[in-house]
Each structure stands twice: as C-alpha cells, then as structure tokens.
Symmetry: C2
Subunit: 282 residues, 2 copies
C-alpha cells in the first residue's frame, strides 16, 4: 500500500492506474478505522481492482464547540488496518493541503439537510458536500462507498451527485454493529463504561421496528415508543428521534405515501453524541 | 462534427476519445454564436485535438424579468459556424436533459460575486457556477475556454475550480470587438440603430484607461471620468462603473496595493443591458 500526503503525488499514481484501464473505488473516511470502515473496503474491492482510501478529519464539517480537536486519531494503526484489508493507496492530506487558502466556494444541498443532523449541526452538510466534491475531483473515482450509519450523509451525497452530474457511482453500505448491537463509530471510544452499557438502547429501540410494527403504529406512535425506550436509560439525552421518508427525508403522515422510511436517532451520553438509524423498505 | 442532445450519447463519444488518449478542450456557450465564440474555439483547438462546444441557455442563471425567454437562438446557423471552425462535438441538451428533477444542490462563490453583475443580478453566479460544474462533470474536459468580456464569470469559475480542485485548466480569452470597438455579444442584436451607435461609448470610455492614466488619477477620478463620458450619451443608463482589484474583485484605495485592476461597466440602452471591461496589469 502506498501512503501519500500530497494531491500531486496521488494524481501521478492514479493517473498510471487510469492509463492501464483500472477502475478506481474510493472510500473517504476521517480515520480511526473500525470494522465499519473495513466493510467499506470490502465493498470497494468487490467493485474495482484499485481501492483508494482517504483519511482526513475535515475541519469545515465541525461546528464551533464540536469535537474537531479531540476527534480520535491513530494514523499508524490505520495504515496497518488499511494495508491488511487491501487498500492500494491511502491518501492522508493535512489541512493546508486541502485548504491552502481560505475557500470562497460552498456547496449546499437543500431540503434533505433541513432535519436530523442538518438541524442539530448547522453548516455540517455544507462542509461534507464541499469536501466530498473536492475529494471526488482529486481522486476521480469510478465509484465511492459510504456507510449507512450516516444515512443523511448518504442521501445528501447521492442528491449532490445526481444534481451536479458527478461521474461517480455511490454505493451505500450497511451499518456494522458490535455484538450487543451498538453501531460502530470512531466516537464510541469517548464512552465510559456505564455510558457504553446504556448506549446499546439505540439499537434496541430501533430493532423493534419492522414492516409489521409500522403497519400497527402511526408515525407518531413509532417515534413515541422509540423515545420512551431510549429515555428509560438515565444517561441518555435525546437530540432527535424522527421518522421520515427515505432518501428524501421529509415528514410523512402515513406509511402508504412512501416506498421507504427511516427511523433516525441522535442521543448524547455525557459529551458523546451517537447516531443510529433503521431504513425499512416496503 | 457530431451534434448530440443527450448526456448518455455525449459520454459514449467522449469516452472513445479519452481511451485514445486525446485531450479534450471545452467551450461552454449559450449559442447565437459570434466571432467572440469563434475565437474561443481557436484557443481550444490550439490547446487540444478534440474541441467540445456546448450550447445551453441555462434558465437558472437568469433572474425574474430578465431575458431568458427572448434570448436569441439560431441552432442551425450555430451548427454551421461551429462545424466550419473545427468543433468536433456539439452538445445541445434541452432543459429537461440538464434538469430532469428540481435540483436541490447549489454552488455559491462568495466575495467575488458581491459586486458588479453579482450585485445587479442576484443568484446569477450561483446559476453559472452550478451549471458549469454540471457541464464539467458531463464533458470531463482537460481544459475549458471562457471569454473575458464576462470577466467576473472567469474570476468566479477560476475560484470555484481552485477551491473544489476541479481537474480542469481554465483558459481566459481576450474580448473580441467590432471595428468601432463594441464588444461582441449575442445581446447586441437587441439594439436599434441609434442605441447601437451610442453603445460604442462603452469601449471608448475604457480605451482611455492605461497604466499612465491610472498613475495620474485616483480610483475615484477614474470611475468619475468613465461615468461622465458614458453619461454624455442620452440613451445610456448606467448600472455600474467600478474599478476593482482583479481577479479578487475588491475595492481598492490605491493602485499600488494590487498587481492588476479591472474597470468594469454595465449600461442599459433601452431594454438591453451591455457589459464591457478593461483589465490592466502592472
């Protein structure tokens, strides 16, 4: 595996692969890799012979008071994990490489970003859309893999790709969970023992939801039942519990109106904000 | 020359050229071609063996009450001119091909768009940046030629390309003028005989400006003198006369502070809004 830190070096290497007609699959990450990221590599490898992973903790998608500074980092371990799993090129730019000057260009995706994390984290998805656009232009992949734990992010990027005609296929990949159900996240390391124990309530609250449950409960009843179960844990501090259409992320009155719904939750345990979701297709 | 109307067909043709290692130069236009566009083709041909031109009157860059509906169109004549000048592929999508659904994604470039046409035409440069981004993703050119009559557009696109790492080289091309000095524009056909005669004042007012003139006049005196000359024509209705740094497009107090300035004017003759400019490098 080649580890490169500059755009110029990356372009030289990928230019060679492209000349040889090799398809390129891209896995953008913020590092501190876990099995969720590893499964993205597996999906990428299944789709293309060359897998490029990026590790970049993007400052523009963090709001004031969020965890940009303390976001967990361990490049040495990440390199080992990525190499062992079959990444061909690991792109690790620093902030000055990605933002040499104060940028004046912003990409925003409306509607899809007005609820869930878009409401809780103003500017977050502008930062995500803009940096993903930069990375797509730098890597020029044929396809890119994103995890569905960040389901709203997947919806935003798919909308951006469609609206702006990006020549990139987006592959949404399923959530990977711990044995007890907790969705894998680099932020799980922030949790203390008691928080970690109680955090399992997110996946438990979502596990009860299936087609039958949706047919027997109104959207309001669904969110009320999920909320009640999460609130039964004393350390849980709910940011949102919402049931929306997917991927348009709009409120719905009846399940009959849409082909897929998402129940999405964001909950704080101490200073740690966790998200999880379940998408149900009819 | 191949004339194609769909993105799919265009991609098939350009994919073949790319496989053969041919560089692609792109000339995006709104059609109703004149010698200004022809010179862009010449610049494109000098830089790459394959020239792709697009003709698309983009609705999202016109404001309410602007001339989208009556913007001059003549595809048959355009095809002939483009073919004769050496365009290999002419891409002519309709609005439904470019915007199959109501788009939710917007690209905006701040600062550079706050003055000149950005102030007179709110939303115009968002429409330009977004559609150029779409066209770049569809055509995937190595380089793209833009005319400096729309100097602010060139500055906006160069900023976007830099900020978003587009793998496209932007080639700004000089203004082409009528024998009497009027800058070529598809909108010149709107002018009646008397308006056409008086419109020459724009280029005359700019012609007096050179390094010596700038050293002998303050920025305020420059804009006052240009304004006075234009106002001497009874049919001229000034939208703006501004002297700014180029390409950052910020007001300046002294010429000593910057390496290049632009004097830019927008003037209405009847219902027709004309723009012109002169860039002076130190």
């Amino acid at each position: 595996m080649k580890v490169v830190h500059t755009i110029k070096e990356l372009k030289t290497i990928l230019g060679e692969h492209r000349k040889q007609g090799n398809k390129i699959a891209f896995v953008p990450t913020m590092g501190f890799l876990h099995e969720g990221h590893m499964s993205l590599i597996d999906h990428a490898k299944a789709a293309a012979p060359i897998v490029v992973m990026s590790i970049f903790v993007n400052p523009t998608q963090f709001g004031p008071g969020e965890d940009f500074e303390r976001y967990p980092r361990n490049l040495e371990r990440d390199c080992q994990l990525a190499a062992d799993r079959g990444v061909a090129v690991l792109f690790v730019p620093d902030v000055a490489e990605m933002y040499p000057d104060k940028p004046k260009t912003n990409i925003s995706v409306s509607n899809i970003t007005s609820r869930l994390c878009g409401a809780s984290r103003p500017g977050h998805f502008d930062g995500v859309a803009t940096v993903v656009s930069k990375l797509f232009h730098i890597v020029q992949p044929d396809l890119a893999c994103f995890g569905l734990k960040d389901a709203q992010q997947v919806a935003v990027i798919q909308q951006m790709v469609q609206d702006l005609n990006f020549p990139v296929e987006i592959i949404p990949c399923p959530i990977i969970r711990e044995q007890d159900g907790l969705a894998l996240s680099s932020r799980n390391v922030y949790l203390n023992t008691e928080e970690r124990k109680q955090a399992v309530v997110l996946s438990q609250a979502l596990a009860q939801i299936d087609l039958k449950f949706l047919s027997e409960n109104t959207p309001k009843e669904v969110t009320r039942k999920v909320t009640e179960l999460i609130e039964s844990k004393p350390l849980a501090n709910i940011d949102y519990v919402e049931l929306l259409s997917f991927p348009s992320l709009e409120p719905i009155n009846q399940f009959e109106d849409v082909t897929a719904v998402i129940v999405a939750v964001a909950v704080r345990f101490g200073n740690t904000r966790l998200i999880d979701n379940k998408i149900i297709k009819k």
